[in-house]
C-alpha cells in the first residue's frame, strides 16, 4: 500500500536549510490503522503532507498502490489525491454555504469520471454519509451542525471516492472527549470494513484506537511498534 524508503525533505528558509525529514522508511500495509505521533518539529506534518501527495520529497522513494508518486507533476498529484487519498482535518474544512450533502459531493467535481448523473452522485454521497451514521441532517449547512456532526460530514467527504488511504490530521483536536471517542469509533468502524487509516495525533488515548504507532523525532522514525508494544514501552519508560 505505502512503501516509503529513505525519504528526505529539505526546506530552504533564506540561507538556512531545514532538514524536516532525514531518511524515513515506512511501510504501511493494506487495511492497517496507524497512528503517527511526534512533537511539533518532529517532521510529522511534513511526512503526512508527502504521504497525502500535497508535497513532494526532496529525496527518496514513495510508492502508493505501486505507483511512484515522488516524481509526479502537480496535476498528476491532484488526480492521486482525488482518487486515492481522503483527508480529514482538525478544523473540518467544510464549505459554509453548502449543505452537508453538497460538501460530501465536492470531490466528484474534480473527478475524472465524466457522465455521472446527479442521482448517482447523490447516491454515493448518501452512502458515504450512511457509513458515518449521519443520514438525518444531509440538507443542513455546517453552521447548523455540531462539531462531531461536522467532522462526520468531513469523513464522509474523505471516503466518498473509496480512497486507498484515509488520512486524519488531529481529527479530534477541536472536539470534546465524548465526541472525540465517537469520531474514533467511526474510524475504527471504517477500518473494520477494510479501510486503511492513518491518524496523526499527540494524544495517547486517540492513538490507542490504532493497531500500530509510529513515533517521529527530528526527522527520523523513533519507534514503529504495535499498539501493545508501544503502550508497554510507555509504561516502562
Amino acid at each position: 500500500m505505502i512503501r516509503i524508503e529513505g525519504l528526505r525533505k529539505v526546506y530552504r528558509v533564506g540561507e538556512e536549510k531545514i532538514h524536516a525529514l532525514r531518511g524515513v522508511n515506512l511501510h504501511i500495509g493494506d487495511n492497517e490503522m496507524v497512528a503517527v505521533m511526534g512533537a511539533s518539529g518532529s517532521g510529522k506534518s511534513t511526512l503526512m503532507n508527502i504521504i497525502g501527495c500535497l508535497d513532494r520529497p526532496s529525496d527518496g522513494t514513495y510508492f502508493l498502490d505501486g505507483q511512484a508518486v515522488a516524481k509526479m507533476s502537480p496535476n498528476e498529484l491532484a488526480l492521486v489525491r482525488n482518487e486515492k487519498i481522503g483527508f480529514v482535518f482538525q478544523s473540518f474544512e467544510l464549505l459554509a454555504r453548502q449543505t452537508a450533502l453538497e460538501n460530501v459531493e465536492l470531490p466528484l467535481i474534480y473527478s475524472r469520471e465524466a457522465g455521472l448523473t446527479a442521482a448517482e452522485r447523490t447516491r454515493r454521497a448518501l452512502e458515504a454519509l450512511e457509513r458515518v451514521h449521519l443520514t438525518d441532517r444531509v440538507t443542513h449547512r455546517p453552521n447548523q451542525l455540531s462539531g462531531g456532526q461536522r467532522q462526520r460530514v468531513a469523513i464522509a467527504r474523505a471516503i466518498l471516492n473509496k480512497p486507498s488511504i484515509l488520512m486524519a490530521d488531529e481529527p479530534t483536536g477541536n472536539l470534546d472527549s465524548v465526541t472525540s471517542h465517537e469520531i474514533m469509533e467511526i474510524f475504527k468502524g471504517l477500518h473494520r470494513d477494510g479501510q486503511t487509516v492513518l491518524v496523526v495525533t499527540h494524544e495517547n488515548d486517540i492513538a490507542a484506537y490504532c493497531q500500530r504507532v509510529v513515533r517521529l523525532r527530528d526527522g527520523h522514525v523513533l519507534s514503529d511498534l504495535s499498539i501493545a508494544e508501544d503502550m508497554a514501552g510507555r509504561k516502562a519508560g
Binding site: L54, A78, L79, I109, A114, R121
Partner: protein, 414 residues
C-alpha cells in the same frame, strides 16, 4: 487535464452563489462595467434612432436626386473666376437636359425676392421660385389641385403661379385657392394649382413655410440680369445616379470650355453622398463611443481584478481544501476565471438593461429626432462579448494566483 461538464456546472453555480452572497460588493465592483455598457448602449441606441430618422428623410428626399451649384474653385483668385463666369446660365441647363441621358428630370431653380400680396395681406419672406414643369418630378412634389405649368406658360412667360397650402393660409386666400389672383412685386398672377406640402423636414424646410412657384421664363423677367440659379435633377434610378453625376460634370466642363487639369467652376452633388457622409459621421461617433466604453471597461476591469484578488485571499483555505480533494491548478484557475466572467456578464446585463431604459427614455424627449432610438441586437451581443473579454483579461491574474497557491500553505491560512 479534462474538466467534466459537471465541473463547469458547479463552477458557474458557485460563481453565482458568490455574487449573490456578496450582493452589494458585486454591484459596486461591476459598477464600472455597468456604467460603461449602459452609456455605450444608450449612445448606440440614440445613434441608431437618429440614423433611422435621417435615412428615412433622405429616402423621402430621394437618393437619386442631384444638385448642381455654381462654385468658385477653392483658393482661386476672384478675378480669374468672376461671378458671371461661374454663374449657371439657363441655356446651360437646356444643354444638360439634352446631353444627359441618365437624367429623368431636370429643372433650373431660381429664387426671387419680391413681396407677395393678396387682397387681404401683403407678406415678405415667402419664397418665390421659378421652375420648369420637371420640377414636380425632380422634387417629388405633385400638384394636388389645379394644373402644372405647361409649354405655353413657359413660352409666353405667363403670369401664373402655384402655391402650397401654407402660402394660401398666409395670404388668406379663399378655400379653393385655384382661380384667385395674387400680386408678386405688384404684378398680377393667376393661381393655377396647389403643390403638395413638403414631406421631408430637411434643411430647415417644413410644411409651414409659404411657397410660391412661377414658370422659370416668367422668373427671368422678374430677376435682375445676373441672377443665380441652381439645378435640381433626378437620375433615372439610384443605381445610375453616379453615372448621371459624371454626365453632368462632363457636359458642364465641355460647354464651359474648361481645360483638362483646371478645376470645375460648378459643383455636382448627389444626395447619396450626403447619406454616405452621414453614415461616415455616425460610424465616427460610434467609434468614439467605443473608445469611451473601452476606457470605462478598463476601469471596470481593474475593479473586477481587485475584487477577485480579495476573493482569492478570503477563500485561501477553501482553495487549499479544493486542492486537497483533487482540484488541479487548472481547475482552480478555470473556476476563478469563470467567476470573473460571470461577474462581468452580470455587470454587462445590468448595463444593457440600463441602456435599454435610457433608450426608451430618449424616445420621449419632445422634439428630438430620436423616436426610433433602440438598442440593436448586435450592440447587446457586443456588450456581452466585451464584458466576457474583460472578465477573462482581468480575472486572469487573480485566477493564476489562486491556481498557484500551495495547498499546504493555503490550508494553514488564517
Amino acid at each position: 487535464m479534462i474538466l467534466t461538464p459537471y465541473f463547469y456546472l458547479q463552477a458557474i453555480k458557485l460563481a453565482l452563489s458568490q455574487i449573490w452572497a456578496n450582493r452589494r460588493r458585486s454591484v459596486l465592483t461591476s459598477l464600472g462595467i455597468i456604467v460603461g455598457v449602459a452609456s455605450t448602449t444608450a449612445v448606440i441606441a440614440a445613434l441608431t434612432g437618429l440614423k433611422a430618422n435621417v435615412l428615412k428623410e433622405f429616402e423621402s428626399f430621394g437618393a437619386n436626386r442631384i444638385f448642381v451649384f455654381p462654385d468658385r474653385p477653392d483658393n482661386a483668385p476672384r478675378n480669374k473666376y468672376p461671378r458671371e463666369k461661374i454663374r449657371i446660365k439657363p441655356w446651360e441647363v437646356k444643354e444638360l437636359q439634352e446631353s444627359c441621358p441618365s437624367l429623368r428630370a431636370i429643372t433650373p431653380v431660381t429664387e426671387i425676392g419680391l413681396t407677395v400680396a393678396s387682397e387681404e395681406r401683403e407678406l415678405d419672406g415667402i419664397s418665390i421660385v421659378g421652375i420648369w414643369p420637371d420640377w414636380h418630378e425632380a422634387e417629388n412634389r405633385r400638384v394636388i389641385d389645379g394644373r402644372v405649368f405647361n409649354q405655353i406658360d413657359e413660352r409666353d412667360q405667363r403670369q401664373v403661379c402655384l402655391l402650397n397650402q401654407a402660402a394660401i393660409d398666409a395670404l388668406r386666400l379663399p378655400e379653393e385657392g385655384v382661380g384667385s389672383h395674387i400680386l408678386l412685386g405688384g404684378r398680377r398672377f393667376l393661381v393655377v394649382g396647389i403643390v403638395e406640402t413638403v414631406q421631408a423636414r430637411m434643411f430647415g424646410m417644413d410644411g409651414s413655410t409659404g411657397e410660391v412657384f412661377v414658370p422659370f421664363s416668367t422668373a427671368l423677367k422678374l430677376q435682375p440680369p445676373e441672377f443665380f440659379l441652381r439645378v435640381v435633377a433626378l437620375a433615372r434610378s439610384a443605381e445610375v445616379s453616379e453615372e448621371a453625376r459624371a454626365e453632368i460634370q462632363r457636359t458642364m466642363r465641355r460647354i464651359r470650355g474648361i481645360q483638362p487639369g483646371d478645376p470645375d467652376t460648378f459643383q455636382v452633388e448627389v444626395i447619396d453622398r450626403y447619406i454616405e457622409q452621414f453614415k461616415t459621421m455616425a460610424t465616427g461617433i460610434t467609434a468614439v463611443a467605443g473608445g469611451i466604453v473601452g476606457i470605462s471597461l478598463l476601469v471596470g476591469g481593474i475593479g473586477i481584478m481587485n475584487i477577485m484578488l480579495v476573493s482569492v485571499s478570503e477563500r485561501t483555505r477553501e482553495i487549499g481544501l479544493r486542492k486537497a480533494v483533487g482540484a488541479t491548478p487548472s481547475a482552480i484557475m478555470m473556476q476563478f476565471l469563470l467567476e470573473a466572467v460571470v461577474l462581468c456578464l452580470f455587470g454587462g446585463l445590468i448595463g444593457v438593461l440600463g441602456g435599454k431604459v435610457a433608450a426608451i427614455g430618449l424616445t420621449f424627449i419632445p422634439g428630438a429626432p430620436l423616436k426610433h432610438a433602440d438598442v440593436p441586437l448586435w450592440a447587446v451581443g457586443v456588450s456581452f462579448a466585451f464584458s466576457a473579454i474583460v472578465g477573462v483579461a482581468f480575472g486572469f491574474f487573480p485566477a493564476l494566483k489562486a491556481s498557484r497557491l500551495d495547498p499546504i500553505e493555503a490550508l494553514r491560512h488564517e
